[in-house]
Amino acid sequence: MKAAYDIVAVGGGPAGLAAAISARDAGCGSILVIERDRELGGILNQCIHNGFGLITFDEELTGPEYAARFEEQALSGGIDFMLDTMVIDVSADKLVTVVSRAEGLVQIQAKAVVLAMGCRERPRGALNIPGFRPAGIYSAGTAQRLVNIEGFMPGREVVILGSGDIGLIMARRMTLEGAHVACVAELMPYSGGLKRNIVQCLDDFGIPLLLSHTVVRIEGQKRVEAVVIAEVDGRGKPIPGTEVTYPCDTLLLSVGLIPENELSLSAGVELSPVTRGPVVNEILETNIPGIFAAGNVLHVHDLVDYVSQEAAVAGRNAAAFVAGNLDDEVGEIPLVATDGIRYTVPQSIDPSRMADELVVRFRVGNVYENRYISVYFDDERVKHLKRSILAPGEMEQVKLKKAELAAKPGLKTITFKLEEA
């Protein structure tokens, strides 16, 4: 079997759905969303807590409710779906190869592709904790799926390593389901999680957050019996003599997310070493013309609302690409992130193709108080925005206007940096 579509979205999470909806609304009549799971909604299906959609719907929804609103719009016509179908290859000329139990191997020729595969959790192997590899060690997201979707409690006496939001959410969830969470250990001197989650998931239940601490040993051969936690110095090295043993049967790891980009690599898409997602321009197009990216596959987001907004931009531009409606390129101006700002998305802007207003999203590398976010057009400072606090766990954004760039012909670089007050 061989099929052809104007636009194929890889992934049916919030990013894939929003991209498909906006492409349809922009007039594209041939769109396919491919999802490996048996249902749409992506990671939101297991995020049963509330806190989604404040920006989009002005109310606090749970993950499944937020997903359902987008599913409803996507299912209202004009978009085809393949569920239970895994994309195994995307080529540079946009031939999409998929496998499904129902149809076997299928190739689909697309004119444009939106990469929306989301992210995965950093695996435990990457952490190098000495000791055996007994049962009872789960990533926080796996535990979340087990408890919320399968209805299965992975353990009773729990230690959590890493204070990412998923770990914090699971500390509360498992406590309410009858487990005892002894502590959350965080290597850094600050938490990567939202303040709200620290207060409502840990403080509410008296669960200690140990900053500058890490797991130095896991005990138990068949099943986790205890973990040893030690304080770390300024360079992240355990301080001898500070070890404390916590008896437990379960260790959850919430140590970060990585964009899922195997497919992007096979298509020849250039990845950023900082975001681990594709390098994109002002229309969220990768270095391969007609291949776009949005959502957690592009860079890890903390708010799904921004995922939906970003993906809508990618979908709209994919539709314009297919229709041949994109403005002629005049040349990409690189965005440089420096002095505390780790990266920007997009990484370059062509002023002729940018929207009237373009959102540049970025993260900072540390916790900073009383700084300015400054934007320079070459060596002229054009924005100077005061922030009383900046933290790596919270994505920031700055809007650039097309008119601002148009007023600066010959512009060579746009620099984003933090400056002291």
């Binding site: 509330n50 359902a68 408890v147 979707i149 309410l176 207060v199 409502q200």
Partner: protein
Amino acid sequence: MEQIHLTCIRCPRGCQLEVAVEDGAVVSVAGNACKRGETYAKTEAVNPVRVVTSSVPVTGNPAHHMVSVKTKGDVPKAKVRAVVDALKGLTVESPVAIGDVVLADAAGTGVDIIATRNV
């Protein structure tokens, strides 16, 4: 006079708030770097509330073991555990739609528990 210690959750700064409470009313808030901290402290110190979310077993749909649920509105923080306990042993039957009441008046809070997923 009672002194309550809180962390403001309205922004990543996380100001440490010292709230003085007398006869169930906030008389002073200190430690907040902005006005939002004071607003937060005024309810959180005397009437903290939460939305409770959970999931309960569902029967009659081979594709799903569980359906996610939430309290339809805020419940007092002190009642969170009672609300979760009230869900123990509850099983719902498919089909269930977003917004369907799966348990009325959970733990005497006057707040219903509704499904957050179509199963």
